[in-house]
Amino acid sequence: MSEIFGIPIQAFMGQLMLGLVNGSFYAMLSLGLAVIFGMLNIINFAHGALYMVGAFMAWLGLTYLDLGYWQALVLAPLCVGVFGVLIERTMLQWLYKLDHLYGLLLTFGLALVLEGLFINIFGVSGQPYSIPDEFSGAFNLGFMFLPKYRAWVIVSSLVVCFATWYVIEKTRLGAYLRAATENPKLTQAFGINVPLMVMLTYGFGAALAGFAGVLAAPAIQVSPLMGSNLIIVVFAVVVIGGMGSILGSILTGIGLGVIEGLTKVFYAEASSTVVFIIMAIVLMIRPAGLFGKEK
């Protein structure tokens, strides 16, 4: 059997794939956080909870309404997005003039409330969500078996991330977004409805978290705590990539997922801390993050 650095190639490639899958989730979630932070100046601690709500919507849809995976993939993000818009209109919009800390506290509180509600109703144990038939089985790549669903998670999240990046960096709407992020008052004085954009941005970030939640449902068990398990690593990703950088959050998310996966192969004990070690090193060398700009 062939080996890489003394590790069987199957084990190596398997962990690399798992790393890419985790990295895809990190990328989607940190992208949403970055977009929201740029526009609203709010560190959205409710992001993990919104991801969990997305996964639960898929599960609830399947269990009670007989809605399949594909319907959930469209409807759940929409519902979470609308929920995000409601949060922004009823709560967040009153905090923009205050310190960052208030937005952080409010969203942290929201996350606790949402998790509490779901734990109360569904308990802490996970709900199974089976992989849709189209994705059962695996591709035989010769040197390894690649489960089809994992391939789908990686591909679809890459498509969503780069589509978001493209819209923000290359289109007219994106130019409005970048302008409103940089100088909201002046941008509004040019006739652009900035408050509306802020509201939709939060809704979009929430929808992205919901989308990631649906993607995660068949891969991980659907549980009220799935968001808080993931979000701590995602915040580390955002810090490493640089707060507010779009491309930075995507690349860092995928990269760290891979590093975490490979650490499992070489030194499994460090796999859950490696991200934080990297965070500490990056903060020492580049306090604004790898892709961030000093302010």
Binding site: R178, A189, F190, G191, V194
Partner: protein, 235 residues
Amino acid sequence: MSATEFLRVSDLHAFYGESHVLHGMDFTVRRGECISLLGRNGAGRTTTLRAILGLTGRRTGSIMLNGREVINLPSHRIAQLGVGYCPEERGIYASLSCEENLLLPPQVGSGGLSLDELYDMFPNLKERRNSQGTRLSGGEQQMLAMARILRTGAKLLLLDEVSEGLAPVIVQKLGEVIRKLKERDYTIILVEQNFRFAAPLADRMYIVEHGQVAAEIQRHEIAEKQEMLKEYLGV
């Protein structure tokens, strides 16, 4: 004359937080007219422009724009009524290229200049259209800040210290541009420190002091009111 009146500001008070900056500004601008707000630093000229667009804190009084009260409208609604703003700090976006900066403000009226016309007027901007906005020189940034509000069809231009800190040849160029705009029937408010720049362009001047209009000077009165101007502006 009220039929051609485009902007009437009456008893305008404006605040930044607790500090009371405008103490009852009163002035009018007729359609197609170019007026200048002169005064010392801190007199309230920039704040007047910002207050018209709703960029200050609390405001009271009245701002009639083309016969419509706008003091309670949010900034973007006021801009959509045909107001273009060129801020003192120029407000060029670092996250946008030169051309993206130029194309940013949405259409707010008909009859704006086309991109080609703007590039004819400011050939430098065409050369540098793919550069990051803030990589442009000070003069180029000022031209960009002017050019981007000419594309939108805005009929009232609020120009804040456009000549400040620029080389004489660029100041001259901007003077020519403003003269062309007057021919095209734009209504212009020039906030200026530089009296020599404003005097030949303005049809009337208002001297602003302590957040109020202290005096109004017609163009033909400039010579006879030299003493008064000196006293107010220290020129």
